[in-house]
Structure formats: structure tokens, C-alpha cells
């Protein structure tokens, strides 16, 4: 662990980013995440677990850089990194045993030992070194910038193709569309990386529902055809063993241990919207914006209006879900597309995709004055999505785990 001042930390982060721009040998799909207000978390293929370099904020103006190397090719990066930051980090050992990078003190930088740990051997040979794709991951349209990052909400087969399910408004856009069918979709989205070329393209946009101002819609969904089906972990809660942004996010946001690896089944018939069919009205969600969260089923909208830059988009049939408290919202930015689901007798069932949020004030009928405030997340039911796909001639099925 190295502690250093803000200015030095910024310099090192730029060096790290510069190195990754060169796509070091041995890194098939290295990606970079911003982490915290300054940091950079760099990962290679998450299944081969080659390397992870993190630079993240600590208290005050101090920052830490942590370098973890799991395979020999990564050691070359470590050496290059040391060189790039003006030899302030010296690589002493580059062989099998846990490697220690010694540090030097220079100026106002206070450096301590860096330990490079080999990753456990048994976890390395996985799924042809493809980056895993699972529910809750951040994705985005790589071809068309500016649409923002959304979440993977599940996996479906569509016309016998395997697809990742998310939202239309984030993958093809609202109103005057900016994206197109066939656009490349990457995970993570470039918005979540420092530079787009390291985003891992996993497929092409296959379908997106149309969302037009002033026109009723009952479906906000898009499907990305997955190029390599072996990437897909299926409709299960991602396991903790994947050292990935979402898995970390889930563990940090308080998901109970018992939910890891649990499968999520297809939604039931329309009765699931009857509150009595949802255990104590509880609904859960996994998304790239806020990880795991729990909420309460409130009701179903006959008509709901969401505004984007002052332009109204109207929906029918959206489900309203309230967070556990004002501090614990059910969803936030980046959670569009996230799968909302519920539990019934130890089984999890899909409810739908988070698409947006409303903050509301109740009004006292007697006095006409404003009352309590609340924030509701809006969920497009999976059944509405299926109906919309069928109406457009597409046969879809929830991916069988």
C-alpha cells in the first residue's frame, strides 16, 4: 500500500492509464474503471484474473495505490508501471512466490510495500478466458456516445439467439433516436472507463422498443445479441468469487450472503402484481448504479409520465417500488435496466426492469397542502416486455439457467 498526496496520485493514475492505452501483451480484454473521485481500477479478463491495479481515495487528501498481479504477464506491466512513475517503485522479484515491490521515499510521497499475490491456481482456467457477463453489469452503446451507462437486467433467447436484456432509452435513445440496431455494445460502458478502446464489446444491439414523446409505451426494453454465449453466467445472482465491480458492489451494499448464486426464474403470470403474491411486498434489485437494494411494492401505474430534458414520455403498466427509507433509495443513476425481482417460498422471480424514478409529494385532501415526500422507482414488468416482443413478431424466452 502506498499513501501519497493528491497531486502525485493524479500523476500516477495518468501513468497507469497511459500504459493501458498500449494494451500490454497478455491482456486480452483489459478494461479500466474510474474508482472514487480520483482512482483508477484496471482489470484484465475477469475470468483469467490476470491483473488488477487500483488507485483509490482514502480519508482526506491521501490516496492509496494498490497493485495486484495474478499472472506472470502482469509482472511486465508492473515493471513498466514502475518505470513510468519515474522509478519510484522498484520491482525486486518477479517469480512465482508472492512478489514484493519495494518502495522508495521521494519528496512528499510516503510509500510502503506493495505485495503482488498470485491468484489461486484452481480459479484460473475458466470459460475460455472470456469476460463473464452477468446481471447487474454496467453496459452501454459503444458506437453511439452520449447515451450513458445502463445495467444488464437478464438474459433471454430471442428468435433462437442469446440476448442480454436492458432498456431501450439507454441503448438506442429516446425520441429522435441516436443509436441503431446493430450498434456495438460494450461492458463496461465507456462512461465508466477512462477511455473507450478498452471497453469489451460483447455483442450488437438486436432489438429496441421505440419510445416517442407523447405516445403511450408499455415497454422500455432492448436486447443485445451476445457474441460468445459462454460468457453468460445466466439469470443468477453473481457469485462473490468474481472479483468484479458488480460483485464488489453487491457485497458493499449489504446483500445477504444467502442470495449469492441463487437463480432468478421467469416472472409468473399477472397475479404476481397482486401484492398478496409477493412476500411481505418486498422487492429486490441488482444494478450497476447502486448494486443490491431492497424495496416495497407500492402499486401499478395505469399512466406514468417520465420527463427527459422537459420532454414527456408516457408509459402504461409501470410498477412503483419504494426504497427502504429516504436514505436507501431502490435505484439510482446507472440502474436503468437493472432486474427487479421478488422472493416467494425461497425462490426468486423476475419482476421487471428498472427504468426511472420519481420523487413525489403527497397532498392532504382536506387542507390541500403538501404532505410527506417519497421517492419511487419505476419498473417495466417483464410480462409487458414479452408481450411487446410477441406483438413485434419475436419469440422470446427467459434464459434457462
Amino acid at each position: 500500500m502506498i499513501e501519497l498526496e493528491l497531486k502525485a496520485a493524479k500523476g500516477i493514475r495518468n501513468d497507469v492509464i497511459s500504459l493501458l492505452r498500449q494494451k500490454p501483451a497478455g491482456f486480452t480484454s483489459a478494461t479500466a474503471f474510474q474508482s472514487g473521485r480520483l482512482g483508477a481500477l484496471l482489470e484484465s479478463n475477469a475470468l483469467s484474473n490476470s491483473v488488477s491495479v487500483g488507485l483509490s481515495a482514502t480519508k482526506g487528501e491521501m490516496f492509496c495505490i494498490e497493485l495486484r498481479v495474478y499472472q506472470k504477464p502482469a509482472l511486465e506491466l508492473a515493471k513498466n508501471l514502475a518505470k513510468a512513475i519515474d522509478s519510484q517503485i522498484e520491482v525486486n522479484e518477479v517469480d512465482d512466490s508472492p512478489v514484493v515491490i519495494r518502495r522508495a521515499q521521494r519528496g512528499k510521497m510516503f510509500l510502503t510495500d506493495l505485495k503482488l499475490n498470485r491468484f489461486p491456481e484452481e480459479l484460473r482456467p475458466l470459460r475460455k478466458h472470456k469476460r463473464p457477463l452477468f446481471i447487474g453489469q454496467g453496459i452501454g452503446n459503444l458506437t453511439t456516445g452520449g447515451l450513458g451507462a445502463v445495467s444488464v437486467g437478464g438474459f433471454v433467447t430471442l428468435d433462437n439467439k442469446l440476448g442480454a436484456l436492458s432498456v431501450s432509452h439507454g441503448l438506442i435513445g429516446l425520441g429522435k433516436k441516436t443509436g441503431k440496431i446493430g450498434n456495438k455494445v460494450a461492458q463496461p460502458h465507456p462512461q465508466d472507463t477512462s477511455f473507450s478502446e478498452l471497453g469489451h464489446v460483447f455483442g450488437e444491439l438486436l432489438f429496441a422498443s421505440s419510445l416517442q414523446p407523447e405516445q403511450d409505451a408499455h415497454c422500455d426494453a432492448a436486447i443485445v445479441e451476445v457474441e460468445n454465449p459462454e460468457q453468460v453466467l445466466g439469470n443468477v445472482i453473481p457469485s462473490r468469487k468474481f472479483d468484479d465491480h458488480v460483485a464488489n458492489c453487491l457485497s458493499k451494499t449489504g446483500m445477504p450472503d444467502g442470495y449469492f448464486d441463487m437463480p432468478i426464474s421467469d416472472s409468473e403470470d399477472e397475479d404476481f402484481l397482486s401484492r398478496g403474491n409477493v412476500e411481505a411486498g418486498r422487492v429486490f434489485k441488482i444494478g450497476a448504479g447502486s448494486g443490491w437494494s431492497a424495496g416495497e411494492f407500492v402499486g401499478q401505474g395505469l399512466l406514468t409520465t417520465l420527463y427527459d430534458q422537459g420532454v414527456p414520455y408516457r408509459f402504461t403498466g409501470l410498477v412503483e417500488v419504494r426504497g427502504e427509507s429516504e436514505e436507501k433509495m431502490f435505484s439510482c443513476a446507472g440502474d436503468s435496466g437493472a432486474l427487479a425481482f421478488y422472493q416467494r417460498e425461497k425462490q426468486l422471480f423476475a419482476l421487471g426492469l428498472v427504468i426511472g424514478q420519481q420523487s413525489i409529494l403527497t397532498i392532504n385532501r382536506k387542507t390541500g397542502k403538501d404532505g410527506a415526500s417519497a421517492i419511487y422507482s419505476l419498473v417495466c414488468p417483464l410480462n409487458s416486455i414479452k408481450e411487446h416482443l410477441a406483438a413485434n413478431g419475436h419469440i422470446s424466452n427467459w434464459h434457462d439457467n
Partner: protein
Amino acid sequence: MARNLKADSRVLISKRKQSALIKLARQLGIDGITSRQGVGGEEVVISLSDGLDAQQVAQSFEQKFPDIVFAIRRIEKSSFQTRSAYNS
């Protein structure tokens, strides 16, 4: 244990009445209509658009649908939830 309210908590408003509610909402420029389970059973929540008077809107609905219990709320803010930049 799961509450079994299925017998008495299903959405009771008929499709026909739902359509009529939506139609009136459009005429009045309402932003939203939601069906939910209240204390006394199913109720309909009206989400007001900016500039509309709560009492007037409520009266309009109650006159046309005297058998439905209405609640009123005002939408302060709404948004789709894409992330335009990392949430740091």
C-alpha cells in the same frame, strides 16, 4: 410468512374503468394514475402536473367515479436512470 391477500387485494378496477380513468387524466393534463392497495382497499392515486389545482382535479375525478377512493400527489422530479458520468 407470506401474506395471503390474494382473495381480497387484486386490482378490482375493471379494464373499462381503467381506460375511462386514463381518458379523463389526458383531458385534464394529469401526469399519472396509479392503482394501489390502501388501508381500506384499492385506491387510485392521481399524480398532478405542474400548475394544476389538487382540489379541482380531485373533484373532477370523484364526480365521474364516485365509487373509487382517490389520493393526490405532486411529482417533484422524474428521470430515466442512465449514468452520464461515473457516479464518483
